[in-house]
Every structure is written in structure tokens, then in C-alpha cells.
């Protein structure tokens, strides 16, 4: 301190500078805090709404609650397709650090997941945010208990209960009811197209199953129901913290569908077919309700619900009896002799007198060709009813050109051939073929003219004629009905709404007297001791209840008579049988096709009889007639004259009790 005075001023100078600057510093700090407050106002006031929405988006999530799929019931309320609880294990990928380690841990408890590792990883990659991936479903209770024990210790592993589609009758309804499975990309694209833009989130839910075939597919939208949303509160890791019941929307279950099918009759049909290949379709010929519609052999649709394994699927796909094909609608056959009622009606429409007799010598010659009757020696002199009874080919050969192929085809179309039935609600229906001159001109450019000899083949249901089993059933139902052009349908009720099909039935447009002659012929087939199906048509249900039928054999390929028995199964003829009962007051019409069943009378008719017996015995009105006092035996002559029991006209479909579960 050399100069005190200088030091003194220096001190004052330092102090003054400090005071000026600390004032400035206070100002800067205050300004800084003011700016921060301004920013707070900006965030909370100006942008507040935006951030409130973002905070809510962080906090809340809607978890889709899949609705229970509607049940499919038979006409008596028996559940054909229902839902049962299924134990499953899921992964919440967003909570898992190392997927491989977690899967190893799961595989330690559930070794079966090892082989599905690749599928699981793919599912995880494709899953949406917050949507868990199913690792294993439909676990046995022991496995579920084990994994539940470990699930709490492995983050992201959830063991819970789900609903799984179950088909209680196994393969009995495999084709008609169909099955459900995971939605595929094509179906998703179609759904998106239909809804016009965004797909329903339900479709992406891992537990969601879509109808893949049959009624499950046709009525998928009705069965599906509406997904509920559960409002959940999640934390930053996506873990559910709380559920908000008020903000949640409950799932609306799908509508139950009541079918016209009768599970007992269906089961009986499947039973009598055994491993035979073919189809049986029974209709109520007054209402059009389909009571039974089988395709044998079937498959277990339950296998498809959780995803069928490759080898199992190949077994089904490669089996020569084609279990995956719906033979009720998807196969066509030459109707053979079952077509003769149609030819007969066509002849009557062309003015042929039913009492006109033709002498069958076993062979019919036309120009240079000769056409053999099935019976080598011939039937002698037959009229129209006799020709039906004996299934005499020569009778139809001789007279067919009076109606002409166009006449036969017109009648055939009136009776239900060469058409599909949209009301049936089954996809994959084949239209079949009823040839006429226009068809020949269209399909055969080299030889467009129709030859009378071709009509000969058509008259006995051979040649180009191709029909499906459902068409045969409709055909016979229309003959049995005689007034209305009934159409088959499978769905009685969707939810609580009755489906009305009957009011849309057109008049058949064929004089009932003509139909009656065809019915007489069929009655004689089954009830005259020399009828072609006499032995196979005995219902043993007393004198009141009789069945009327007609056999048919459809050639699979031409062969010499010597090789018939040696032929392999797949080259054997198809056996057909169509029938209705009771003969005096027709109610049930039935068509049975046994593929490669050699002849209609041999394999098809006995099956038809068993199915028909059960249907008749279950029917309360017919039960009364079976066990009730025998008032006056209805004699054959009266039936032939068409003076049937008055019940024929008053018979209406009896009301079914409403026994659908209401839930």
C-alpha cells in the first residue's frame, strides 16, 4: 500500500463498479425468471390443450375386448358351434428385453412351443403396439398351472383365459357349418375395402377368428358381434396400471344363428355313411328347410380353429375320398335314373298319355345305334308308372324325342336343376349342367346340331346331364310338394329375427296331375314288391307311413361288363337314391349320393331309409300317425288316383318352439 489515498479511491471505485453490476445481475436474473414464467404461460395456456391431449394419449389406451362369437344352434337348440374357455399364454413384446431368452424360459415349461419358435417370432414382429402375441393356446390345465406359476416371474408373459370356437359334433357339420380361423391378408384387404378405409380394430386382435367356410363364413358379420373397448391406464412401459370401467364399452356378442338342421338327423346321416364317400340332404318339402346336409367323409373343424399342422392337412387333402370337398354342393354327378321323373313330367307336358305302353325288349334301336336297357331281357310292356317303377330305360328312350331335349331341359330347370341357391348360404355351389340345343350349339362348335340319339342319353340322366346333391334334394322336394318351387335354406333365425324364405317361393308351374304320376311311380318303386327299391325302402313304421323313392346309378366311365367287379373303387359307378315320405302327405324329401356306391338300390337306398326313419320318428305329427289307432288303411289305389289324405293340403310347417338361449 504505497499510496493510501489512491487505495481509498480504488476501493470506492471497486465498490461502485460492483454495485452497478450487481444491480444489473439482479435485473438479468429477474428477467430470466420472468422469461421462464412467460414460457410456462405459453406451455400451459397457449399450447395447454395440445399437451393435455398428448398426456391423455400417454396415459390411456383402449384395449380391444373381443366379443363372444354367436353360437350356431340346430333347430332344437342344440349347440353345434359354441365357445369354450381356453387357457393361453401370451407375450407382451414391449415389456420384454430379450425375446429369445423369454421364449427359452417358456419352452422350459412348455416344450411344445419349441417347434413353433419361428411362427411366434413372426407373430411378434407383425403384432401391433400393446397387442400381445399368443404363444400357446388351448393349453391343458396342468400346463396352464405350470406356466401361471412362472408367468409372474418372467416379465411380459401373460397367462390368461380366452374363448375358443368349438364344434361339438366334430366332423358331422364340417362342411355346412364350416369353421373359423385367423384372418389372412386377403380377407383383411376385402374387409378394408368393404368398410371403406380403416379396418375394424377387432380384425387385428390376436384372438379374433373369421369364418372360413360354410355358415361361419356366410354369416360371419352377424356372428362376429361388436368389439368392446376397455379403457386402461398404462405406465411408460406399457404396463396396465388401472382399468377404467366407466370409460369402457362392453363387447356386444355376436348373434346366435339357429339353423334348420337337426343335429340328430345329421349325426345319423354321418353315422350311416361311415367312411363311404357322398352326401345326404334332407329337406322339408313344404317349407324348404334343410334338416340334414352332410358330406362324407368329413373332417374335424376343431383342428382348423387353432391351426392345423401341415402333415395333418396333407393327409386330409390327399385322401382320395376328398374329405375337404363339400359334396353336397360342390360335386356334380350324372343323376342317372333319378332323372326319370323329370323326363316323365316333360313327356306329360308334351302331351304323352301316361297310359301309353311301350314294349321293352332290352334294347332300343335308333338308326345305326342301339341303346340297352339296364335289364338285359327287357321289361316287356310298360306304361309310364311301370317304367318308373322298373326304371325301364327303353320306355324313355322310345318316347323322349316327343318332348325333345328342350322340353326335358325346361322341366328340369323348373324342378331345380342347373341353378344355385343363394338363400342356402353355402359358398362353392356348382351349377351343374342341363343340356339343350342351345348348349350344344354353344359348347360344340364342330358339331353344333343336337342329335336325337343324345336326347336318349339325357332322358335317363346320362350324357351331358350333371347335377349336384342339393339340386337333387330340391328336385325331389318340388316333386313331393307339387305346388311350390321350394328352395333349400339353412338359417331359421339370425339373433331373434326369423328368416323368411317361404314367401318368396314361386309356383312350380307344373300341373299337379302330372307330378302325381311321377309320385305314383316313385311310390311303386318302394312299395310294390317288384319295385327296384322295394326291399330297401321298408320303413317298418306301420301301414300309414310309407316312403316313395327312386334309385339311380351314374356311370363314372364306360367299361365292359366283364371288368365291373374288378374295377378300382374310384372307377365304380355312383349310387343315388331320392325319396320322400310319408307318401300320402309328403313332408320330408331326401337325396342320397354314394360316390362309387355301385348302384342306387344297393348302397344309397338303405342309408336313405335309416335317415328318413329317424326324421319321421322325431316328427310329433307323424309319431301320432305311427302309434295312433289305425283308422282306415290308406290303400294303394286311392293314392294312385291322387286322392291323398286331406292333410296334404293343410300341412303347414309346425311352429318350432323358441329354445334359443337368450343371453
Amino acid at each position: 500500500m504505497a499510496d493510501p489515498s489512491i487505495v481509498f479511491t480504488d476501493v470506492n471505485e471497486r465498490q461502485g463498479a460492483f454495485h452497478r453490476r450487481i444491480f444489473l445481475m439482479g435485473g438479468v436474473t429477474a428477467f430470466g425468471l420472468f422469461a421462464l414464467t412467460g414460457r410456462l404461460v405459453h406451455l400451459q395456456g397457449v399450447q395447454g390443450e395440445k399437451y393435455k391431449m398428448l398426456a391423455a394419449a400417454n396415459q390411456y389406451n383402449y384395449r380391444i375386448e373381443p366379443p363372444p362369437r354367436g353360437e350356431i344352434l340346430d333347430r332344437n337348440g342344440k349347440v353345434i358351434a359354441g365357445n369354450r374357455p381356453s387357457f393361453r399364454v401370451m407375450l407382451e413384446a414391449n415389456l420384454i428385453k430379450n425375446i429369445d431368452d423369454t421364449l427359452d424360459q417358456i419352452a422350459y415349461v412348455l416344450p411344445q412351443t419349441l417347434s413353433q419358435r419361428r411362427r411366434i417370432l413372426r407373430d411378434i414382429n407383425q403384432s401391433q403396439r400393446f397387442v400381445p402375441t399368443i404363444v400357446a393356446a388351448d393349453l391343458a390345465w396342468e400346463d396352464f398351472a405350470k406356466i401361471s406359476l412362472y408367468a409372474n416371474d418372467i416379465p411380459g408373459v401373460v397367462a390368461d383365459m380366452d374363448e375358443m370356437r368349438t364344434y361339438y359334433y366334430g366332423g358331422a357339420f364340417s362342411h355346412v357349418v364350416g369353421y373359423v380361423n385367423k384372418i389372412n391378408a386377403k380377407e383383411l384387404a376385402r374387409e378394408v375395402e368393404q368398410t371403406g378405409g380403416k379396418p375394424d380394430k377387432l380384425l387385428l386382435h390376436p384372438g379374433f377368428r373369421i369364418g372360413k367356410s360354410g355358415i361361419e363364413k356366410t354369416y360371419d358379420v352377424q356372428l362376429r358381434g361388436q368389439a368392446g373397448g376397455k379403457k386402461i391406464e398404462v405406465d411408460a412401459r406399457g404396463k396396465v396400471v388401472a382399468e377404467d370401467d366407466e370409460g369402457s364399452r362392453p363387447a356386444v356378442g355376436g348373434k346366435d344363428i339357429v339353423l334348420t338342421l337337426d343335429a340328430d338327423i345329421q349325426s345319423r346321416a354321418v353315422e350311416v355313411f361311415g367312411e363311404d364317400s357322398g352326401s345326404a340332404i334332407m329337406m322339408n318339402c313344404q317349407t324348404g328347410e334343410v334338416l340334414c346336409m352332410t358330406s362324407s367323409p368329413g373332417f374335424d373343424p376343431n383342428l382348423f380353429v387353432s391351426g392345423i399342422s401341415g402333415p395333418a392337412y396333407r393327409l386330409l387333402a390327399e385322401y382320395e375320398r376328398l374329405p375337404l370337398l363339400d359334396k353336397a354342393v360342390g360335386s356334380t354327378y350324372a343323376p342317372g335314373s333319378t332323372f326319370k321323373m323329370n323326363t316323365a313330367i316333360a313327356l306329360l307336358a308334351a302331351g304323352v298319355d301316361p297310359s301309353e305302353r311301350v314294349t321293352c325288349t332290352g334294347v332300343y334301336r335308333m338308326g345305326n345305334s342301339s341303346f340297352r336297357c339296364w335289364k338285359p331281357g327287357g321289361h316287356g310292356s310298360v306304361d309310364m308308372r311301370g317304367a318308373l317303377k322298373h326304371s325301364c330305360d327303353v320306355y324313355f328312350y322310345t318316347l323322349c324325342n316327343r318332348a325333345g331335349v328342350n322340353g326335358i331341359a325346361r322341366t328340369a330347370r323348373m324342378l331345380g336343376f342347373e341353378q344355385t341357391f343363394p338363400d342356402l348360404g353355402i359358398e362353392g355351389q356348382k351349377k351343374g349342367l342341363i343340356p339343350d340345343t342351345a348348349y350344344k350349339a354353344r359348347a360344340f362348335k364342330k358339331d353344333p346340331t343336337w342329335h336325337p340319339g343324345e336326347t336318349v342319353s339325357v332322358s335317363i340322366g346320362q350324357g351331358y346331364v350333371n347335377v349336384s346333391a342339393i339340386q337333387l334334394a330340391t328336385y325331389i322336394a318340388r316333386i313331393a310338394n307339387g305346388k311350390k318351387a321350394v328352395e333349400p335354406y339353412l338359417v331359421r333365425k339370425v339373433g331373434s329375427e326369423l328368416e323368411d324364405h317361404m314367401s318368396r317361393f314361386r309356383d312350380l308351374g307344373i300341373p299337379e296331375s302330372h307330378i302325381q304320376i311321377a309320385r305314383d311311380g316313385m311310390y311303386m318303386v318302394s312299395n310294390d314288391s317288384d319295385g327296384t327299391a322295394f326291399r330297401q325302402s321298408q320303413l317298418d313304421l306301420g301301414p300309414n307311413i310309407k316312403m316313395s323313392g327312386k334309385t339311380g346309378t351314374a356311370q363314372v366311365r364306360s367299361y365292359g361288363s366283364g371288368t365291373r367287379k374288378a374295377a378300382e373303387w374310384k372307377y365304380k359307378d355312383h349310387g343315388l337314391f331320392v325319396c320322400f315320405a310319408p307318401s300320402d302327405a309328403p313332408k320330408y324329401a331326401l337325396a342320397v349320393v354314394v360316390e362309387h356306391g355301385v348302384a342306387g338300390g344297393k348302397f344309397a337306398a338303405p342309408k336313405a331309409r335309416e335317415i328318413m326313419r329317424l326324421a319321421l320318428m322325431k316328427d310329433p305329427d307323424i309319431q301320432k300317425r305311427i302309434i295312433g289307432p289305425v283308422s282306415t288303411a290308406v290303400d294303394t289305389a286311392a293314392l294312385k288316383a291322387g286322392a291323398a289324405d286331406p292333410e296334404v293340403d293343410t300341412l303347414a310347417p309346425e311352429p318350432l318352439t323358441d329354445n334359443i338361449r337368450s343371453d
Binding site: A17, I22, Q44
Partner: protein, 387 residues
């Protein structure tokens, strides 16, 4: 006891008269602010005293006692200890470089007997004391602009580089800015300040490119555009803004803030606690806290300016500057105005060592006020000896 009693030597040495000189309103404000912090720690801890609120309360009580004790310490002790404290802190920083623990990717911690501490925390106060002593012994002319300013520059630069190397960008910036604040308060030439600011404007982009670590660069890039990667690096800033913005005027209520309660808000109990405050207590709570901070800082600066000694003035103002920088940087950070640099909100954020340093600083400030009439000998500085 009246103030005039302090002017009487002997009387002012008595501890009861010193205690009476402590600014109890100021202490009350500190307690109120910390109390709100503890309330929020209770809330974000899931409305439980564990794991944070209770510990914070205990730490605060201990620190409060320590602060009051420091307020009674003679300023000469501070003056004499200033360089020693600075030297020791510098040595510890070097030690960290050699044997420090690596936690969360940075070498910041030293462990002694099971307690981990960060020497960079000490340095924040040490730099203030050392610079205050330097300027106390320096003339106004030299403080304005002379070659002697190389010493304070080195005193700031060496620890800043060491801390930066740990790496801890936030603390390095804080140490530099604190030192700079003391230099400016001591009377640095405005032209030099302007030139320095211009140089910084050139240097910062260069430093960004060549000096900063990848994660530091990323933080700054993220700050500039947080929406670019909302689930990655921008997550912190975005979630913080959502928390604050969704609070509204009165907030969602204690324990009801979805962002902080459901862990969307990261570091909700430490660096981002202001976001939790503004979410749960709304604008009212946030504004209240800013008012408290403003009052505390302005009162502390007033106390600094009361001192008769240059050392006291600069030390108290420097300690307050550190505190103010904490508040402004953290506030700007949680509101998305500044990159995420890991600076806590003093007194409100959970954390023992930060609280200890802040309260030590305020102990100094209170002590400066208590000893405001004390004249410190302006010892001949090492430079004056050669004149």
C-alpha cells in the same frame, strides 16, 4: 439488539448478536421452497415418504444447521481458506481423472468410506471463493483489464477443462459461467466482455464439432428438434413439455399427475422435478416457485451488496450467481428452451450433495451479511510486492 450494536467492536463478536443478524426471512423462504420440493418428492414417490421425501427432509435439516453454523464463521476464515479450498478441490478433480468411479458412462465420482461424492460440486463454490480472494487483493484497474486477468482465467479454465473431460458438460458450463459472473461483477471491461461473447459465438460451433462427446452432441441436436425421435433422445424433453403443458392453471393435483406418476416423465425426482411441479400444481405452483427463487436471489444479492469488504461482496454474489444459474438453466431445460445438461433445480430436486453445496453457499451469503461491517485487511497481493 439493534444494528448499531454491531458497530461496537466486542459486541459484534458475540454469537447471540451474530445469530440475531441472520436474515431469518431469507431462511424462511429457503425452508418454504424446500418444503414445496419435499411435498413434490412425496407425490412423485407415489404419495409415500419413501424413497425420496423423508431423506430430503433429513438432508435439508442437516444442511440448514450447517448453513446457520457457517453464517457465524468469521469472514477472515473464508478469506484465508479460499485458496486452500480451491487447491484441494482441484486436486480432487485430478484424482477423479485418475481413480474415479465410472457411473452412467461418466467419471465423476470419488468414493470415500462408502460415500460417493463429486469433486466438481466443491469446485462450484471453490472457484467463487478463490476468485473473490483474488479480486479482493486486486486493484480496480487490474480487474478491468490487465495481464493479471490471466490468473483468474486460468483458475476458471483448468477445472472447467477437467470437468469437461469427465465428461460433464453441464457442470463445466456452470463453473465457467460462475467464474465469468464473478469476473464481470469485479469490474471486467465491457469491451472485453463483448469481444469474449463474439469469440464464444465463433467457438461454440467449433467446440460442438470437435470437443463434445457424441452423447453431448446428440443432446443438443435433440434439443433443437425433439419431435424428430419422440421415443428415443427427444423423449425427455417432449415428455417434460407434455407434463408441464397439461398441468393447466391449478394443476392435476398432488399425486394425480399422469406424466409423473406413470413414469412418462424421466428423472421426475431430480432434474425434471419442475415438470412434475407444473403438472401437479399447475401454473400456480410453478409461478409460486419462480417467485420464491426470485425473492431468494434478490435478497442474497442485496446481502452481498451490504458487505464492507470486497471479498465478502464478491463471494456472496458469486455464490448467488451459481444458484441463479442453476435455476435459470434447469428451468429453461425442462421447458425445452435449453439442451438437457443434467443440472438439478436447487433445493427442489432430490439430491444430497447439490443441497449441501447450495446451503454452504447460502451459509456464506448469510455470513457475509452477518459480518457486513467487518473490514478485511487488503493484504499486499503477490503482485503488489513487486511494485
Amino acid at each position: 439488539m439493534v444494528d448499531s450494536a454491531l458497530s461496537r467492536p466486542g459486541q459484534r463478536e458475540r454469537y447471540d448478536s451474530k445469530l440475531a443478524q441472520i436474515d431469518w426471512v431469507f431462511v424462511g423462504l429457503l425452508a418454504t421452497l424446500t418444503g414445496i420440493g419435499i411435498l413434490l418428492l412425496y407425490s412423485v414417490g407415489g404419495m409415500k415418504w419413501e424413497p425420496w421425501a423423508f431423506k430430503q427432509l433429513v438432508t435439508f435439516c442437516a444442511c440448514m444447521a450447517f448453513m446457520l453454523l457457517l453464517a457465524l464463521v468469521d469472514l477472515r476464515v473464508w478469506l484465508m481458506g479460499a485458496y486452500w479450498f480451491y487447491g484441494a478441490s482441484l486436486l480432487l478433480l485430478v484424482a477423479v481423472e485418475a481413480v474415479g468411479d465410472v457411473r452412467m458412462g461418466a467419471q465423476r465420482w470419488l468414493s470415500v468410506g462408502g460415500f460417493g461424492f463429486q469433486p466438481s460440486e466443491f469446485m462450484k463454490l471453490a472457484i467463487v471463493l478463490a476468485l473473490a480472494r483474488f479480486y479482493h487483493e486486486c486493484s480496480a484497474k487490474d480487474a478491468n483489464w490487465s495481464w493479471k486477468l490471466l490468473f483468474p482465467a486460468a483458475m476458471i479454465g483448468v477445472p472447467a477443462v477437467l470437468v469437461m473431460h469427465q465428461p460433464d458438460l453441464g457442470t463445466a458450463v456452470l463453473i465457467s459461467l460462475t467464474g465469468l459472473a464473478v469476473m464481470i461483477l469485479a469490474g471486467l471491461n465491457w469491451k472485453v466482455i463483448a469481444a469474449g461473447a463474439a469469440a464464444a459465438a465463433v467457438a461454440i460451433p467449433l467446440a460442438f464439432e470437435f470437443v463434445l462427446h457424441e452423447y453431448q452432441r446428440q443432446r443438443i441436436l435433440t434439443f433443437l428438434n425433439p419431435e424428430e425421435d419422440p421415443s428415443g433422445s427427444g423423449y425427455h424433453i417432449l415428455q417434460s413439455k407434455i407434463a408441464m403443458g397439461s398441468g393447466g392453471l391449478l394443476g392435476k393435483g398432488l399425486g394425480l399427475g399422469s406424466q409423473s406418476q406413470l413414469n412418462f416423465l424421466p428423472e421426475k425426482h431430480t432434474d425434471f422435478i419442475m415438470a412434475a411441479v407444473c403438472e401437479e400444481l399447475g401454473f400456480a405452483g410453478g409461478f409460486m416457485i419462480f417467485l420464491l427463487y426470485g425473492a431468494i436471489i434478490l435478497m442474497a444479492l442485496r446481502m452481498a451488496s451490504l458487505s464492507h469488504s470486497h471479498f465478502g461482496r464478491l463471494a456472496a454474489a458469486g455464490a448467488t450467481a451459481t444458484f441463479a444459474l442453476y435455476v435459470l438453466i434447469n428451468g429453461a431445460m425442462v421447458m425445452g428452451l435449453f439442451p438437457v445438461v443434467g443440472v438439478p433445480m436447487p433445493l427442489v430436486s432430490y439430491g444430497g450433495s447439490a443441497m449441501l453445496m447450495v446451503m454452504t453457499g447460502f451459509g456464506l451469503v448469510l455470513g457475509v451479511k452477518v459480518h457486513r461491517y467487518q473490514e478485511l485487511p487488503r493484504q499486499a497481493s503477490i503482485f503488489q510486492r513487486f511494485e
